[in-house]
Symmetry: C2
Subunit: 398 residues, 2 copies
């Protein structure tokens, strides 16, 4: 008995059969006496098809018009799901972002939700309607349509749950929960019954594609009870909650990211402000830098090495070559990052040592190391990625 | 130099090539120093595809959800056309019904525009933007999306032209104007340079599929300068204007409608109120009745014969059989209606006689006759339709 927000992604509403299956999940929840607000993404390849159509007409279309175009995808799946639920004789209404009062900033194609004006939503809940809301989109102050960026429907769901003070926000996906490692690669990977917001956030940021990290941030901020469940099988998922209430585990997951590259800038002058200049240049171009290592070079110089996303490598090299025309700059895109995450490690010495030992016993060389309070990342050769995950996983999780 | 509203239908924006062609027409108009507001329909078969998708999920989906679904079609073509125009380096913005302030009543799937709140439109015109507006749709007082019914984009265009006091409203279609008869059937059919609102209205109602009749009504009411032009060829179209300013012709067109059926109810009691009861029963079921003929039957009875649209035949027969279980009711769906239209005939005697003479010389039997101030319709055997149109056309138009 309460208010439950349920989010279904594109594969979950890809065709009539799937839509009917989702309608069954939603109405089963409603039948138990709950109010239900559902957030849907666009059907399967709809968004990609629209992007292709646009590219044919204008490869550099404005983001404002792209958002106007793409937002239709969710409106289609929202109305179709409402029809399916109505065919089962349940009261239902579909609302787009404007009708649902989802106000965002004006950063077209990658907007952030600023607030949700819940008047209409509450009116529909008062009528005991099941509400289907278009995910992934908002309305800005100019009354224009914005989209929240890929995976933004997770954020829509969490934001709605926060605004409506929902008792639970369920994210239905094509996996059945959060695992200690990728279950397709690591046979001994375990499904977590629960995980803290912080650990989930690190895992999401480090490449586990279960939840969009902005949605986890939001859930943590507004204390939203999150749950990751399978939209294909009816079994228990993973609950994401406050750290204090989560059963302590030393580490909760091993993640890998093989879409990274390392860049080295060698022989920079050893004076104050050198690092600042370098990284602010990259920041201006929206190049996010991850692990950073600075070492003393020869003859009063220093070397700076760091990692960037593989998709930003070219742009980063370009910026650097222009800014430092006579400096030696090299890169290696044959690397990957493997990380362990766990709030438990804060109070446990020896976690890093145990991780490095696992890598040593696998004969894997560590190129860079980065640590935070709840995670440790290492950069290794790309070919060793899966082996590293397996050895580390075995060392920590039995 | 002025404000021009241009409307393009579904075939005109069916693919990238067509969209680019439309963008050319629009920007050419803009380059001449005009402000341009464009109204677009959904691409080609988009609407039919969406209807099919919905039918698979819920064959009796609510009209409210159908409108939510179908309105995406125009939003897609509006944003794509904006992208095409922007690729040609012209300032442009696409607006959906809500953004454009198109307020309708709540008659989902067949709504009427109540007013247009032009604030946003004027703001964009002040910025010298070309505006692309989604046709066929509005927003009701509940902030829900409505559609105006098939062909409703014509109405959107005329309503926008009226609200913005546009100098001209151009309806681009796949024909190049209004003809005195269907040019595919009658070789001597002539394109009209101009036609009065009233004649156009009769022609639209009688089956000439050039303009939606509601749009002509609206144009007449608000004195909108209408023009029907080809979206495929660059030649002069047909202007629709006030009767006084139109060159006088005896008749302006010959139209046919072969989607009609005749129903006869035989031997009704000859007392007051009989016709009233019969037609109010049909009215309640939204069955529109056209030509009506009442004759005295045997033994103090009367017979009532009338025509209905072929698509309403079954429903009408059903209603009548239930209401008059012991009365003889028959129908004939092998008939068609041929009409002549012309404001000129008001002041000209002998027009009807001339039409009947033409039919006589073609050896065609007249089953029913109906006349108004500016039109004469006859019901004949369906097989004679094209021949009748040809003979009548030849008698009046040389």
């Amino acid at each position: 008995m309460g208010l439950i927000v349920q989010k279904f992604g594109g594969t979950s509403v890809a065709n009539t059969e799937r839509i009917n299956y989702v309608a069954k999940i939603v109405t089963d929840t409603y039948k138990k006496g709950n109010n239900v607000v559902v957030v849907v993404s666009a059907q399967g390849d709809m968004t990609d098809d629209l992007i292709e159509k646009a590219a044919e007409i204008n490869p550099s279309a404005s983001k404002r018009e792209m958002d106007m175009l793409l937002s239709t995808g969710e409106q289609i799946s929202a109305s179709l799901l409402a029809m399916a639920i109505s065919a089962m004789d349940f009261p239902v209404v579909s609302l787009n972002a404007w009708q649902a009062g989802i106000v965002s900033d004006s950063n077209y194609s990658n907007a952030r939700i600023k607030r949700i004006e819940t008047e209409r939503l509450n009116k529909e809940l008062d009528k005991n309607n099941i509400i289907i809301v278009t995910g992934f989109q908002g309305i800005n102050k100019y009354d224009d349509i914005t989209t929240l960026g890929r995976g933004g429907s997770d954020t829509s769901a969490v934001a709605l749950a926060a605004a409506l003070k929902a008792d639970l926000c369920q994210i239905y996906t094509d996996v059945d929960g959060v695992y200690t490692a990728d279950p397709r690669k690591v046979k001994t990977a375990k499904k977590l019954k629960e995980i803290s917001y912080d650990d989930m956030l690190e895992l999401a940021t480090l490449g586990a594609q279960v939840l969009q990290n902005r949605s986890v941030e939001l859930a943590k901020k507004y204390h939203v009870n999150l749950e990751v469940v399978s939209s294909f099988e009816n079994k228990e998922g993973t609950k994401v909650k406050e750290a204090e209430t989560v059963e302590k585990m030393l580490i909760t997951g091993v993640a890998k990211d093989d879409k990274v590259a390392r860049i080295s800038v060698v022989g920079l002058e050893d004076v104050p402000g050198v690092a600042f200049r370098l990284f602010s240049l990259l920041g201006q171009k929206n190049v996010n830098v991850d692990i950073i290592l600075q070492s003393i070079g020869r003859n009063n110089t220093k070397d700076i090495t760091f990692t960037v996303g593989l998709d930003k490598l070219e742009e980063a090299m370009d910026v650097l070559h222009k800014a430092y025309p006579s400096t030696e700059i090299s890169y290696n895109d044959n690397v990957s990052k493997v990380s362990i995450v766990g709030s438990g490690m804060q109070s446990n010495a020896g976690v890093a040592a145990k991780m490095f030992e696992a890598l040593y016993s696998a004969g894997i060389n560590i190129k860079m190391i980065s640590t935070s309070e709840i995670k440790i990342s290492v950069l290794i050769d790309k070919k060793d990625t899966d082996k590293a995950v397996e050895y580390i996983h075995d060392a920590f999780i039995r």
